[in-house]
Subunit: 228 residues, 2 copies
Amino acid sequence: MPATPRHTSRARVEAKESSILDAAEKIFAQVGFDGAKVSEIARAASVAQGTVYLYYKNKQDLLAGVVGRFWTQLTLGAEAAIEPDATTREQLEQLGRYHLNSILEQFEVVSMTYRARPQQEQDLDQVREYVRVFDRIMQRGVDRSELPEDIPIGQLRDVFFGTLEFSARTLKLRERPYDHSVVTNLLAIMVGSSSTAAGAPKGKEPSNRDLMNTLKSIQKQLITSSES
Amino acid sequence: MPATPRHTSRARVEAKESSILDAAEKIFAQVGFDGAKVSEIARAASVAQGTVYLYYKNKQDLLAGVVGRFWTQLTLGAEAAIEPDATTREQLEQLGRYHLNSILEQFEVVSMTYRARPQQEQDLDQVREYVRVFDRIMQRGVDRSELPEDIPIGQLRDVFFGTLEFSARTLKLRERPYDHSVVTNLLAIMVGSSSTAAGAPKGKEPSNRDLMNTLKSIQKQLITSSES
DNA sequence: CTACCAAAATGATTTAAACTCATTTAAAAT
DNA sequence: ATTTTAAATGAGTTTAAATCATTTTGGTAG
């Protein structure tokens, strides 16, 4: 079992595992999950069919591996893309920009995320980990008093990622490239209209008052907070 | 071929077609697309396996049938749920409420929508038809001067449906029922904070000024409108 | 009423691809 | 050098989708 390698170096096992993942990612992206044959993937990874099954229980599990790795890397990239000293609003813009760009680039893998969690089970752990990047930015905003402390982070998370994913789908469908206005507009409605966009009046500091006011007014409307 | 029935009544053919769809919908929802066997579906519809293939080219096509019918019915229901004389804001709330409720109820079918369009092809026609309900409400708002005329309807559509779908996923994951605050908050950020929610101050007419102002301020930020 | 025809339905058979496992090969320990 | 254990192999098995030669059904005409 590769799960507990004693006699062989862990490094080699991991190298093979990742070469299988590379091959799978390539083939899945090319022909989709259903179109992909495990024999093809094995060939692309230069191993025998049976070897794939030493590392992954089945084809589903292989997909989960590909998708999981993608989101793990996305988390690392997102953390790198965010300047720790920037304002909450700037950090959200950095994350939004990074997120939209990434899911456009790896659109096929993102789409397959939904197939990697069979039958209404929990989300992939790696996806949950990823969305925490958003949560941390928001929580930090609360701690720094840039955001009201009873702001519904969970609901705004769905606004943020839901909008960006649907926008990415729309852009793909129309064969358009990354469009920064999507992020700008999203932040405008989420957090008020302090502008950092090109073409906007220069020399004016983004004010956090807009952000506070907008979110406070949302807050007033919140009847029942559906999470802790 | 059932495509051109001459000797048999169209009604009977359609009855059988829809009984196969009913069976497929039931089995798909129960065990998912991959878990479903065509033989099971045929059994549930009281026909032979081969008969299924007279009506649908393959299993994928059968899924497309189930999913397409769902969105067609959703369009009809949405149109019925919207009062033509209500304000734009009220109509959006009606649509949002109806949409969230419906996709929560038929969550499995909605999830399978993405599998019904194989390999980055166009959206299902029925889905495109459905989202036009939103577009018409918005366009009507523009025509009535309740909305600025250069409002980016396409982008707001992604905010609307993206947020609701991700919110539904979150609610399902946490095993919570329909939560109206999701719709209320979404409208608050999309369209300003005129409250119609329970517990809010009564006797105050929802003002359209909020709506205009919010959207105007978004408008200012729009650098390039990425659609007509 | 019976013979005829075409549409519709059937399910045994074919096909294809996921998955298994007895065997071989390679690596590590003694 | 020998033994032991891990890793890899691919022919063979299994499963389920899809096909198609045959049968059944329902309508039409003589």
